[in-house]
Symmetry: C2
Subunit: 356 residues, 2 copies
Amino acid sequence: MAAPQSPPQLSPRDREILRDVILAYILSAEPVSSRSVAKQGRLGLSAASIRNVMADLEEWGYLAQPHTSAGRVPTRAAYHLFIESLMQSRRLPARERRYIDEALPSTPGDAGQLMESATHLLSELSHQVGIVVTPALGETVLKAIEFLPLSGRKVLCVVVSADGFVDNKVIETEEALPREELVRIGNYLTENFAGTTLREIRARLLKLMAEERAQMDRLLARSIELARAGLSPEQGQGVLVDGTRAVLDQPELADIGRVRRMFETFADKARLVSLLSQCLRGNGVRVLIGDDSALTSELDFSLVATGYGVGERPLGALAIFGPSRMEYERVIPLVTYLGERLSRALAESFAGDARS
Amino acid sequence: MAAPQSPPQLSPRDREILRDVILAYILSAEPVSSRSVAKQGRLGLSAASIRNVMADLEEWGYLAQPHTSAGRVPTRAAYHLFIESLMQSRRLPARERRYIDEALPSTPGDAGQLMESATHLLSELSHQVGIVVTPALGETVLKAIEFLPLSGRKVLCVVVSADGFVDNKVIETEEALPREELVRIGNYLTENFAGTTLREIRARLLKLMAEERAQMDRLLARSIELARAGLSPEQGQGVLVDGTRAVLDQPELADIGRVRRMFETFADKARLVSLLSQCLRGNGVRVLIGDDSALTSELDFSLVATGYGVGERPLGALAIFGPSRMEYERVIPLVTYLGERLSRALAESFAGDARS
DNA sequence: CCCTAGCGCTCCCGCGACGAGAGTGCCAAA
DNA sequence: TTTGGCACTCTCGTCGCGGGAGCGCTAGGG
């Protein structure tokens, strides 16, 4: 088997044919024959001519055949080329944009809802798996923190971030604290730390504690204790996944082994997060195809991902996961638009922020 | 094909053999031959004798053969009989009890965590799908309600139920309210309505509103407005599902069509809830096998379910979902124990309730 | 009366052969 | 440079055939 030659400049006709093959394969999931491309009649060529070109394309490494005398299938290189320069339609159709705008709650209330809607939209509009990585709480900016007495030494800590995320957790204090004290602590923390990230708050509190260990007043001491517990950064970034059911219809998943491997991929949330975190920085969509990552190589799956955030601050990522044979022309604009839309929605809830 | 005779009293030997067949099938997932039962040598009988009994059992409707001259497979009736009277081991082994006790957070903080742990434990210990229906918020008893100002007219409403459930949602008021007013409203509502269910509170507020529409004072009016929005019973019962990945290993799911149908079952949460709600009342485990419900008939799947609650008040249900060929001897005690354990955990967090 | 050994029968399953169909590669002609 | 034609190759579904597993039945023994 000859090593794939480094591809020379592809002639316009080569590109045209490669494009047709890819489009046909995306549609049918079956090896594309020269005849079918010819019959489609986009360029007035016969099957034999197309065969010649396809043989060349195979030599360049853009096409492959599952076995002799079968049709051709695009390789990863072909998909990359397709996305880079063969693809048309860089913009999401207006009706889908409208659909998204309507489905995304315009006054999002809780940002968590926003995230869920976005995940669902991703999968619904692409018929693939939609993935959204929610912000690491430590990176969000504090807007307010509040403590409510429950029973005994249990205290409910409510953290509201400037981006609209609300998180609450039950913590246990060393001694029972009266309601008024809790309110004062909440006020103290909110007044002093609103506008900084939770991670930073933690760091500053620790420093404070170390410095004035001796002459700490009660309020400060209590505040530190509660804030440490309430702002504990244990909760890393969350991953929302939707649409696993829809993607079962793809012929790529006719084999159960693959279904199982796919679910194993999703089960390893930590790995997903670290993979997607790379897509945080740099605006624009990143596409991982097949061997680009161990995650997708075996399955012949792709990941189309982008980041979202407020201003320059990256917060999370969103992605579509599905067979490499994917409608990139639809999916890429979708991810792009939803990423922008999400950033905007968060920014707006941020802009409407009148410090209380 | 002869209609299955109504079974006479089964002799002890019949029961013994039926039991062996069921156990073997549960283990192997393959039709059980008379030879394999004989060779197991529990009773010193030859294959031929066992064949006779098995032929009888088939006539009574307890066994079936996929085709002539294949081994036998238990029917639904067999499973029911097995659960009723053939099964041994009515108690969960001590080590699993201990494992559960350790895994279940002893001071549960948020009851939501408790639910998630329980779901995971169900699937982990059974290698099937674990399902937990969380309480309908409307049925929970109010412990405290609190309002925090966000920005503009947005208010964060935090509802704490006596059973340890915490829920928060962002609502929008007609006009911006100062923080002190929000605190007073929260106090007013908490003082007047702690101890009653959210559903009842809503009803009473509506009645109040209708009665004194004219001379309502501001506080009451505001309270009603906020409580209506904050206690809106939209959020029905939630369903937690875990372990779909583990169950993919079952040979019953070698066919993708079944995998798809299984996921469709889970997608229809409303149906799941209504099915499981039947298991709320009446203590003890309920087992639905195959044709007992449209949900499972096609898949040959079973549902082992029980309810949990505090005192006489049923709150939710938990269940294990998997192939009818299921280790009932393990699974039933597991569901039972976890149901009790969950009820107890909720009751304890309830008992520790010192009104603040 | 119940159990057991033996025998014939039925059905599944894996294997190899075979033919149809689809697609390619190559060559010669326009 | 393109095209039509032809031979070649590979897959896939079908068929037939044995091997094997398991059952039903019956006759003989405790």
